[in-house]
Protein backbone atom coordinates (compact mmCIF):
# COMPACT_ATOMS: atom_id res chain seq x y z
CA UNK A 1 0.00 0.00 0.00
CA UNK A 2 1.20 3.47 -0.83
CA UNK A 3 0.89 5.18 2.54
CA UNK A 4 0.90 2.76 5.45
CA UNK A 5 -1.79 4.87 7.06
CA UNK A 6 -3.33 2.77 9.80
CA UNK A 7 -5.36 5.69 11.11
CA UNK A 8 -7.03 6.11 7.79
CA UNK A 9 -8.05 2.48 7.68
CA UNK A 10 -9.47 2.67 11.19
CA UNK A 11 -11.52 5.72 10.23
CA UNK A 12 -12.90 4.35 6.99
CA UNK A 13 -15.83 2.22 8.21
CA UNK A 14 -17.09 4.83 10.70
CA UNK A 15 -16.71 7.43 7.96
CA UNK A 16 -18.94 5.43 5.60
CA UNK A 17 -21.38 4.90 8.49
CA UNK A 18 -21.57 8.67 8.90
CA UNK A 19 -20.70 8.70 12.59
CA UNK A 20 -17.44 10.66 12.62
CA UNK A 21 -17.19 14.10 14.21
CA UNK A 22 -16.81 17.10 11.90
CA UNK A 23 -13.10 17.28 12.72
CA UNK A 24 -12.60 13.62 11.95
CA UNK A 25 -14.53 13.95 8.68
CA UNK A 26 -12.25 16.82 7.67
CA UNK A 27 -9.21 14.79 8.59
CA UNK A 28 -10.47 11.82 6.55
CA UNK A 29 -11.32 13.98 3.54
CA UNK A 30 -7.94 15.70 3.58
CA UNK A 31 -6.20 12.39 3.76
CA UNK A 32 -8.25 10.82 0.97
CA UNK A 33 -7.60 13.81 -1.29
CA UNK A 34 -3.86 13.43 -0.78
CA UNK A 35 -3.60 9.64 -0.95
CA UNK A 36 -4.83 8.00 -4.19
CA UNK A 37 -4.44 4.38 -2.94
CA UNK A 38 -6.62 5.09 0.09
CA UNK A 39 -9.05 7.08 -2.03
CA UNK A 40 -9.43 4.11 -4.32
CA UNK A 41 -9.96 1.69 -1.45
CA UNK A 42 -12.48 4.06 0.01
CA UNK A 43 -14.47 3.98 -3.26
CA UNK A 44 -14.17 0.19 -3.16
CA UNK A 45 -15.57 0.05 0.38
CA UNK A 46 -18.53 2.23 -0.57
CA UNK A 47 -19.22 0.12 -3.68
CA UNK A 48 -18.84 -3.07 -1.67
CA UNK A 49 -21.38 -1.93 0.91
CA UNK A 50 -23.83 -1.19 -1.90
CA UNK A 51 -23.07 -4.44 -3.70
CA UNK A 52 -23.64 -6.52 -0.56
CA UNK A 53 -26.94 -4.78 0.15
CA UNK A 54 -28.26 -5.35 -3.36
CA UNK A 55 -26.92 -8.91 -3.71
CA UNK A 56 -28.39 -9.98 -0.36
CA UNK A 57 -31.82 -8.46 -0.99
CA UNK A 58 -34.48 -11.00 -1.82
CA UNK A 59 -37.97 -9.61 -2.41
CA UNK A 60 -40.98 -10.97 -0.55
CA UNK A 61 -43.10 -13.49 -2.48
CA UNK A 62 -46.65 -12.63 -3.47
CA UNK A 63 -47.83 -15.73 -1.57
CA UNK A 64 -46.31 -14.55 1.68
CA UNK A 65 -47.60 -11.03 1.14
CA UNK A 66 -51.12 -12.44 0.73
CA UNK A 67 -50.74 -14.59 3.85
CA UNK A 68 -49.72 -11.55 5.88
CA UNK A 69 -52.73 -9.61 4.61
CA UNK A 70 -54.82 -12.60 5.72
CA UNK A 71 -53.55 -12.14 9.28
CA UNK A 72 -55.22 -8.74 9.58
CA UNK A 73 -57.65 -8.39 12.43
CA UNK A 74 -59.49 -5.45 10.90
CA UNK A 75 -61.75 -5.40 7.87
CA UNK A 76 -60.74 -3.21 5.00
Amino acid sequence: MGCGCDDCEALMQPYIDGILSDDEVREAQEHLAACPPCEKRFRFEVSLRHFVRVAASEPISEELRAKLVGLRTTEV
Binding site: D17, F44, S47, V52, A55, A56, L71
Partner: protein
Protein backbone atom coordinates in the same frame (compact mmCIF):
# COMPACT_ATOMS: atom_id res chain seq x y z
CA UNK B 1 -79.47 5.35 29.26
CA UNK B 2 -78.69 1.81 30.44
CA UNK B 3 -75.25 1.01 31.80
CA UNK B 4 -74.39 -1.45 29.05
CA UNK B 5 -74.86 1.19 26.39
CA UNK B 6 -71.66 3.10 25.68
CA UNK B 7 -71.74 6.82 26.15
CA UNK B 8 -71.13 9.07 23.17
CA UNK B 9 -67.57 9.75 24.38
CA UNK B 10 -66.88 6.07 24.74
CA UNK B 11 -68.26 5.39 21.27
CA UNK B 12 -66.01 8.07 19.80
CA UNK B 13 -63.02 6.62 21.59
CA UNK B 14 -63.77 3.15 20.25
CA UNK B 15 -64.23 4.45 16.74
CA UNK B 16 -60.92 6.25 16.91
CA UNK B 17 -59.15 3.22 18.29
CA UNK B 18 -60.56 1.13 15.50
CA UNK B 19 -59.34 3.64 12.89
CA UNK B 20 -55.88 3.64 14.49
CA UNK B 21 -55.79 -0.10 14.40
CA UNK B 22 -56.68 -0.20 10.71
CA UNK B 23 -53.97 2.36 10.00
CA UNK B 24 -51.43 0.41 12.06
CA UNK B 25 -52.11 -2.79 10.15
CA UNK B 26 -51.89 -1.03 6.81
CA UNK B 27 -48.59 0.60 7.69
CA UNK B 28 -47.16 -2.68 8.97
CA UNK B 29 -48.18 -4.44 5.75
CA UNK B 30 -46.65 -1.70 3.61
CA UNK B 31 -43.33 -2.44 5.34
CA UNK B 32 -43.54 -6.20 4.79
CA UNK B 33 -41.14 -6.21 1.84
CA UNK B 34 -38.50 -4.25 3.73
CA UNK B 35 -38.93 -6.37 6.86
CA UNK B 36 -38.67 -9.55 4.80
CA UNK B 37 -35.40 -8.49 3.15
CA UNK B 38 -33.83 -8.29 6.59
CA UNK B 39 -35.60 -11.38 7.98
CA UNK B 40 -34.48 -13.48 5.04
CA UNK B 41 -30.81 -12.90 5.86
CA UNK B 42 -31.24 -13.42 9.60
CA UNK B 43 -32.14 -17.07 9.06
CA UNK B 44 -30.81 -19.87 6.91
CA UNK B 45 -33.71 -20.67 4.61
CA UNK B 46 -36.57 -19.03 2.81
CA UNK B 47 -39.09 -21.31 4.57
CA UNK B 48 -37.77 -20.27 7.97
CA UNK B 49 -37.95 -16.61 7.00
CA UNK B 50 -41.52 -16.97 5.76
CA UNK B 51 -42.65 -18.79 8.94
CA UNK B 52 -40.98 -16.19 11.08
CA UNK B 53 -42.63 -13.35 9.14
CA UNK B 54 -46.08 -14.85 9.68
CA UNK B 55 -45.47 -15.40 13.39
CA UNK B 56 -44.10 -11.89 13.76
CA UNK B 57 -46.99 -10.24 11.92
CA UNK B 58 -49.57 -12.27 13.84
CA UNK B 59 -47.98 -11.16 17.10
CA UNK B 60 -47.63 -7.56 15.94
CA UNK B 61 -51.32 -7.40 15.00
CA UNK B 62 -52.25 -8.82 18.41
CA UNK B 63 -49.93 -6.49 20.36
CA UNK B 64 -50.51 -3.41 18.24
CA UNK B 65 -51.39 -1.26 21.26
CA UNK B 66 -47.81 -1.69 22.54
CA UNK B 67 -46.48 0.17 19.52
CA UNK B 68 -45.90 3.86 20.21
CA UNK B 69 -47.10 5.92 17.25
CA UNK B 70 -44.36 8.09 15.80
CA UNK B 71 -41.56 5.64 16.62
CA UNK B 72 -39.84 3.47 14.01
CA UNK B 73 -42.42 0.82 13.06
CA UNK B 74 -39.99 -1.18 10.92
CA UNK B 75 -37.63 -1.44 13.90
CA UNK B 76 -40.53 -2.44 16.16
CA UNK B 77 -41.58 -5.22 13.77
CA UNK B 78 -38.02 -6.50 13.51
CA UNK B 79 -37.65 -6.49 17.25
CA UNK B 80 -40.64 -8.83 17.50
CA UNK B 81 -39.21 -10.95 14.72
CA UNK B 82 -35.72 -11.26 16.24
CA UNK B 83 -37.22 -12.11 19.65
CA UNK B 84 -39.27 -14.89 18.06
CA UNK B 85 -36.15 -16.10 16.30
CA UNK B 86 -34.34 -16.27 19.64
CA UNK B 87 -37.35 -18.02 21.27
CA UNK B 88 -37.03 -20.71 18.64
CA UNK B 89 -33.91 -21.74 20.48
CA UNK B 90 -31.45 -20.49 17.94
CA UNK B 91 -29.16 -19.28 20.69
CA UNK B 92 -29.07 -22.43 22.74
CA UNK B 93 -25.78 -23.24 21.09
CA UNK B 94 -22.98 -20.78 21.53
CA UNK B 95 -21.13 -19.35 18.59
CA UNK B 96 -17.98 -21.30 17.90
CA UNK B 97 -14.78 -19.66 19.05
CA UNK B 98 -13.54 -17.45 16.32
CA UNK B 99 -10.20 -17.65 14.68
CA UNK B 100 -8.21 -14.48 15.20
CA UNK B 101 -8.65 -12.13 12.27
CA UNK B 102 -5.48 -10.24 11.71
CA UNK B 103 -6.43 -9.01 8.28
CA UNK B 104 -7.22 -5.33 8.07
CA UNK B 105 -10.02 -3.63 6.21
CA UNK B 106 -8.15 -3.72 2.92
CA UNK B 107 -7.63 -7.46 2.95
CA UNK B 108 -10.52 -8.20 0.59
CA UNK B 109 -9.57 -5.44 -1.81
CA UNK B 110 -5.97 -6.60 -1.97
CA UNK B 111 -7.04 -10.18 -2.47
CA UNK B 112 -9.48 -9.37 -5.28
CA UNK B 113 -7.07 -7.01 -6.95
CA UNK B 114 -4.43 -9.71 -6.99
CA UNK B 115 -6.72 -11.90 -9.14
CA UNK B 116 -6.75 -9.28 -11.91
CA UNK B 117 -3.95 -9.05 -14.42
CA UNK B 118 -3.98 -5.24 -14.56
CA UNK B 119 -1.48 -3.26 -12.60
CA UNK B 120 -3.93 -0.72 -11.16
CA UNK B 121 -7.53 -1.83 -11.89
CA UNK B 122 -10.61 0.30 -11.52
CA UNK B 123 -12.45 -0.47 -8.25
CA UNK B 124 -15.62 -1.42 -10.18
CA UNK B 125 -13.68 -4.17 -11.92
CA UNK B 126 -12.42 -5.35 -8.55
CA UNK B 127 -16.02 -5.61 -7.24
CA UNK B 128 -16.98 -7.61 -10.33
CA UNK B 129 -14.83 -10.45 -8.99
CA UNK B 130 -17.68 -11.12 -6.56
CA UNK B 131 -20.92 -12.91 -7.45
CA UNK B 132 -24.33 -12.48 -5.85
CA UNK B 133 -24.20 -16.07 -4.60
CA UNK B 134 -20.82 -15.47 -3.03
CA UNK B 135 -22.31 -12.59 -1.04
CA UNK B 136 -25.29 -14.65 0.14
CA UNK B 137 -23.07 -17.61 1.14
CA UNK B 138 -20.40 -15.45 2.75
CA UNK B 139 -23.04 -13.69 4.85
CA UNK B 140 -24.68 -16.98 5.88
CA UNK B 141 -21.29 -18.20 7.14
CA UNK B 142 -20.84 -15.27 9.54
CA UNK B 143 -21.62 -16.46 13.14
CA UNK B 144 -25.15 -15.36 13.99
CA UNK B 145 -24.43 -12.82 16.75
CA UNK B 146 -22.24 -10.88 14.33
CA UNK B 147 -24.43 -11.53 11.33
CA UNK B 148 -27.54 -10.08 13.01
CA UNK B 149 -25.79 -6.75 13.43
CA UNK B 150 -24.30 -6.69 9.93
CA UNK B 151 -27.70 -7.57 8.42
CA UNK B 152 -29.54 -4.88 10.40
CA UNK B 153 -27.01 -2.11 9.71
CA UNK B 154 -25.64 -2.94 6.25
CA UNK B 155 -28.71 -4.49 4.64
CA UNK B 156 -31.56 -3.04 6.70
CA UNK B 157 -29.77 0.33 6.93
CA UNK B 158 -30.70 0.73 10.58
CA UNK B 159 -28.76 3.13 12.80
CA UNK B 160 -26.55 1.70 15.54
CA UNK B 161 -29.14 2.87 18.08
CA UNK B 162 -32.01 1.11 16.30
CA UNK B 163 -29.97 -2.08 15.92
CA UNK B 164 -29.15 -1.92 19.64
CA UNK B 165 -32.82 -1.61 20.50
CA UNK B 166 -33.92 -4.36 18.13
CA UNK B 167 -31.38 -6.81 19.54
CA UNK B 168 -31.60 -5.51 23.12
CA UNK B 169 -27.84 -5.01 23.41
CA UNK B 170 -25.76 -1.88 24.17
CA UNK B 171 -24.71 0.38 21.28
CA UNK B 172 -21.06 -0.39 22.09
CA UNK B 173 -21.77 -4.07 21.51
CA UNK B 174 -23.41 -3.23 18.18
CA UNK B 175 -20.25 -1.38 17.15
CA UNK B 176 -17.84 -4.11 18.17
CA UNK B 177 -19.95 -6.87 16.60
CA UNK B 178 -20.34 -4.83 13.44
CA UNK B 179 -16.62 -4.32 13.18
CA UNK B 180 -15.95 -7.99 13.73
CA UNK B 181 -18.84 -9.15 11.55
CA UNK B 182 -17.77 -7.05 8.58
CA UNK B 183 -14.24 -8.41 8.81
CA UNK B 184 -15.50 -11.99 8.92
CA UNK B 185 -17.78 -11.25 5.96
CA UNK B 186 -14.89 -9.86 3.95
CA UNK B 187 -12.69 -12.78 4.80
CA UNK B 188 -15.44 -15.18 3.68
CA UNK B 189 -15.89 -13.15 0.50
CA UNK B 190 -12.18 -13.26 -0.19
CA UNK B 191 -12.17 -17.06 0.18
CA UNK B 192 -15.17 -17.48 -2.12
CA UNK B 193 -14.23 -14.94 -4.74
CA UNK B 194 -10.78 -16.24 -5.44
CA UNK B 195 -11.83 -19.86 -5.84
CA UNK B 196 -14.86 -18.89 -7.99
Amino acid sequence: MSESEPTATEARRLAEESRNRVRFEEEALELSDQVYRVARRLVGSREEAEDLMQEAYARAFRSWHQYQPGTNLRAWLLRILTNLNIDRGRRTQRSPDLQPLEEGDYFLYNRLESTLPDENPDEERVIERLSQNAVVDALADVPHDFRDVVVLVDIGEFSYADAAQILDIPVGTVMSRLHRGRRVLKKNLADKAVTA
